[in-house]
């Protein structure tokens, strides 16, 4: 039987607002332990939350970017549970009336796919618990646990997707596109390693072509893009094995262990969770003014997905993806506008980052002449393109040796000096071409035209 994966994601994004979600303490990474705190985020008696307007606006922007409907009325709820990193004994979150609902994201590519967005809501982050002693840095066996409340109350957006993803690769791509979108909106650094973007995955499998939803596993605490994909792959693998051996899949929460590429059971909570949600009486419902919602919509920049689609015709889906997700498409477009061929512009932009503020008009002249120039000339021009007074003229003189007659004797000498490599190349190790090119470049001080060197080398090695 062929199996198909059914994957949905729950993503937490820490917003990089200047202050916390419900108080005016400085938010964000850093600061000595417990210095970015106040009665509100330490949950002193009588302290009350006041919602951060910027966080609300940013969540609305994100909601627009995910194609969501922005609710006329959103309600903060209390999610009640005891834990030392949860100072109030409840987290202020959103429950049945979230700020953003019902979105859809189309992920471009050679095989584009759609991901439904169930909701995106605003909540607050917990404090950070540090376990000391006992050697492992984990709770079990630790001698004591310390709490740093600097993070407590940092705004978090939780995004929940429909179970629309069909493979680990789709999950990775969706997540990468989402990350790029968030970064470009300027609302979060969205770095998994730093925990400003966190992703839990719900994974189940089913016979391909079926539309059933089987029991799922939840993967938690996956802290890199690569591990999200590998964790999902591991879950798919293990579930398929279970079904094929006649077993069943029980609902379970797992952590992914990258060292062993396996799943381990998530520590079980000591008692069943009942969060006793109820509307937060200390806050009034959010009722964003329609004018504000509309303004935030019209102010959205062109999103990465749209730009990938736009560049796909000229570059193909994969290169368009790479261009946009590395945020190099603006300089690429500027070069194209100056008359540089698209492929050429892509190669230049992707080979070497073009510094911000570059004089693209002058740089384009160098790029257009690149075939006749030394490789170094182009590299230096790119590096200097943002310098004051940068002109193409300084680099256009740096003409490459394109005369085969001049290069042939040198090439012959190099081939003669490396009989072993020549034999290997002819035996099929064509990757060695780079080695010969490198030798020629070294001998000519980088002045040889790579194009001509390549052509001559190929011809001579074929002989």
């Amino acid at each position: 039987m062929t199996w198909e994966a059914v994957v949905g994601l729950e993503i937490h994004v820490q917003l990089k607002t200047r202050t916390k979600m419900f108080c005016r303490c400085e938010a964000g990474f850093g600061g000595a332990e417990n210095t970015r705190t106040c009665p509100v985020c330490l949950a002193h008696p009588g302290a009350l939350p006041v919602a951060n307007r910027t966080a609300v606006e940013w969540t609305i922007r994100l909601g627009h970017a995910l194609g969501c409907t922005i609710a006329d009325r959103a309600v903060f709820h209390r999610k009640n549970y005891f834990y030392p990193d949860n100072p109030k004994g409840y987290q202020i979150s959103q429950y049945d009336e979230p700020l953003c609902v019902g979105g859809l994201v189309t992920v471009p590519g050679t095989e584009p796919f759609e991901v439904g967005i169930v909701r995106a809501h605003l909540e607050e982050d917990a404090a950070k618990t540090v376990h000391r002693g006992g050697g492992t840095g984990r709770k079990v066996g630790a001698e004591r646990s310390l709490i740093d409340f600097n993070r407590a109350g940092t705004p978090l957006v939780e995004i929940v997707t429909q179970p629309d993803l069909r493979s680990a690769d789709q999950a990775r791509r969706f997540l990468q596109l989402l990350r790029q979108t968030i970064v470009e909106l300027g609302i979060s650094d969205a770095r998994m390693e730093e925990g400003t973007l966190r992703c839990d995955a719900n994974v189940s499998v089913r016979p391909a072509g079926s539309d059933e939803l089987r029991t799922r596993w939840e993967l938690k605490n996956v802290n890199s893009f690569a591990y999200v994909g590998r964790g999902i792959e591991a879950a798919i693998r293990e579930q398929v094995a279970l079904y094929e051996s006649g077993g069943t899949v029980e609902q379970e929460t797992y952590d992914y262990e990258p060292d062993t590429d396996t799943l381990t059971q998530h520590r079980s909570k000591e008692e069943a969770e009942d969060y006793r949600y109820f509307p937060e009486p200390d806050l009034v419902p959010l009722e964003p003014e329609p004018e504000l919602v509309e303004r935030l919509r019209t102010e959205l920049p062109e999103l990465p997905a749209a730009r990938i689609v736009r560049h796909t015709e000229a570059l193909g889906a994969d290169d368009a993806w790479a261009l946009v997700t590395t945020e190099r498409d603006a300089t690429y477009a500027a070069l194209v506008a100056e008359g540089v061929a698209e492929r050429e512009a892509f190669n230049v932009t992707m080979n070497q980052p073009i510094p911000p503020g570059a004089n693209v008009a002058e740089l384009a002249k160098v790029v257009k002449a690149a075939k006749t120039l030394t490789r170094e000339a182009l590299q230096k021009a790119v590096a200097a393109s943002a310098d004051p007074g940068f002109t193409a003229d300084a680099y256009l003189g740096d003409v490459a040796i394109t005369d085969a007659a001049e290069l042939d004797p040198l090439i012959d000498r190099i081939l003669a000096a490396n009989p072993g490599q020549v034999e290997s190349y002819r035996g099929g190790k064509e990757g060695l071409l780079g080695f010969f090119v490198g030798q020629v470049m070294k001998e000519t001080g980088g002045k040889a035209s790579p194009k001509v060197v390549n052509e001559r080398l190929r011809e001579k090695l074929r002989a």
């Binding site: 009665p39 330490l42 949950a43 002193h44 008696p45 009588g46 302290a47 009350l48 939350p49 006041v50 919602a51 209390r78 009640n80 005891f82 030392p84 100072p87 109030k88 004994g89 409840y90 709490i147 000591e270 009942d274 006793r276 949600y277 109820f278 009486p281 200390d282 806050l283 009034v284």
Partner: protein, 469 residues
């Protein structure tokens, strides 16, 4: 000069200060002397403060009101030793208005109770009869004002904790419209119901203190803009339409002496020129109490979760591991009443019960709000007794939570509806004060002040307890 703190109103005290007949320090000292003389018997204060200086009157604050640098326990062991690092908005506004903190007054633990017997630090006593309770939860503030231990005070009211003690102690207490006074810095009991308000000897004092503490606060999202407070002068009720909710008038459990005093006050309303008519609040009176006893404990169960021993307050020295430390801390720190309400509230919010309890109570709350709104289309205010009974003996209801809860039968409906209410003394029954409750629509404080003031003048009630005259 001798300062008769029993008799002196805040307004008169201010006049003495203005005429420099007495200094602020002398005034402060006079109240401190009165505290020293009478508080050992009455136990209104959990702690007193040294004169902080300044140019205004002294004031006493209920111990749920956070005061920077002054221990604030809310009458609970779990907060024993807790010294706030910040002032509540109302404490800051009092300071800003020059008022000088005399001390923190006793309260039922976390404001849960109707007699102050639930205070972890022992009950307060009624100045009219120390064998009786002063009401609660703000019994300390009410008794302090009546016993001349403070010219005025602040209380907090969730289901009657300002109005009921004022009724039982024979003074004036205002529970303002929800949202007019900031809750920032007030130890939370039930957030959608809690409201701070003034306790004073006269309606005019009450209005003046309300003007100090009320107004929108950026630190409390539920506060609103408040119309300018008018200190009342009119001595008639002409043009006012006053409703008498028959379900409140005829409620079971109202003592005959209370019923009679209230009936006389209602007659007086007509004599003073008001149009008085019967009206009806059937569902509010029938369902107010059960509705309140679902919503308030539910919110309390969540509000009290922060008292976990991790950051401040009591932490059990015993206990192995996280869960046990939590359990022991809260078991040792909370008394029976908070525990009872935490359990009730946790249950009411639990999966599978939410809709039947908390959800249903919220629907009933909407019904109560609408029922009141309909009445206030016809009336400017409604009147009833504040408490069904006069002050009851200490210990009488201490072991009967339901009897204690019934004490708030008449104050709770308008609290649930978020409406302002004022209690003024309207006579004596068995030698103890009877409270008259006036309730108005949202933000109708000025109307309440006006009517209460006119009635106060016409009633001529002597607010000094007979045994202290």
């Amino acid at each position: 000069m001798t300062i008769d703190t029993l008799r002196l109103t805040a307004e008169e005290a201010d006049a003495l200060l203005a005429r420099k007949e007495v200094s602020g320090a002398e005034l402060f000292a006079a109240y401190r002397d009165a505290i020293e003389a009478r508080d050992p018997e009455l136990h209104c204060f959990l702690r007193t403060c040294d004169d902080p200086g300044g140019d205004g009157l002294p004031i006493a604050l209920k111990d749920v009101i956070g005061t920077k640098g002054v221990e604030t326990t809310a009458g609970s062991k779990i907060l024993a030793g807790y010294v706030p690092v910040y002032d509540s908005t109302v404490a800051a506004r009092c300071k800003g208005g020059g008022l000088r903190l005399l001390g923190k007054t006793n309260t039922d633990e976390v404001a849960m109770g109707s007699s102050t017997e639930n205070s972890a630090f022992g009950p307060s006593r009624n100045p009219w009869d120390p064998t009786r309770v002063p009401g609660g939860s703000g019994g300390g503030s009410a008794a302090a004002v009546s016993a001349g231990l403070a010219p005025w005070a602040l209380g907090s009211d969730t289901g009657g904790s300002i109005k009921q003690p004022s009724a039982l102690c024979g003074n004036v207490g205002l529970r303002p419209t929800y949202g007019t006074v900031s809750r920032f810095g007030i130890v939370a009991f039930a957030s959608s119901l809690d409201q701070v308000g003034p306790v004073a000897k006269t309606v005019r004092d009450c209005a003046r203190l309300y003007s100090v503490i009320s107004g929108r606060d950026p630190a409390d999202s539920t506060t609103v803009e408040v119309p300018a407070v008018e200190v009342p002068t009119a001595e008639d009720l002409k043009g006012l339409r006053i409703g008498v909710p028959v379900e409140m008038r005829d409620a079971p459990g109202i003592e005959p002496g209370v019923r009679d005093a209230v009936a006389r006050a209602v007659d007086l309303c007509s004599e003073l020129g008001a149009e008085v008519e019967e009206c009806s609040l059937p569902r509010s009176v029938e369902y107010g109490l059960p509705c309140y006893y679902l919503i308030a404990p539910a919110e309390a169960s969540s509000n009290l979760a922060r008292y976990d021993g991790v950051r401040y307050g009591h932490r059990s020295p015993e206990g192995n591991g996280l869960i046990e430390v939590y359990e022991r801390t809260r078991d040792e720190g909370f008394g029976d009443e908070p525990k009872r309400r935490i359990m009730l509230g946790t249950y009411a919010l639990s999966a599978g019960y939410y809709e039947a309890f908390y959800g249903k109570a919220q629907q009933v709350r909407t019904v109560i709000i609408r029922e009141h709104a309909a009445v206030f289309e016809r009336f400017d205010l409604i009147v009833s007794a504040t408490s069904p009974t006069v002050a009851f003996p200490v210990g009488e209801r201490a072991d009967d939570p339901l009897a204690m809860y019934a004490s708030d039968l008449l104050t709770i409906p308008s609290c649930v509806a978020g409406l302002p209410g004022i209690s003024i003394p309207c006579g004596l029954s068995e030698g103890l004060p009877v409270g008259l409750q006036l309730v108005g629509p949202q933000l109708a404080e000025n109307t309440l002040f006006r009517a209460a003031h006119a009635l106060e003048r016409a009633l001529g009630f002597d607010y000094v307890p007979e045994r202290l005259r």
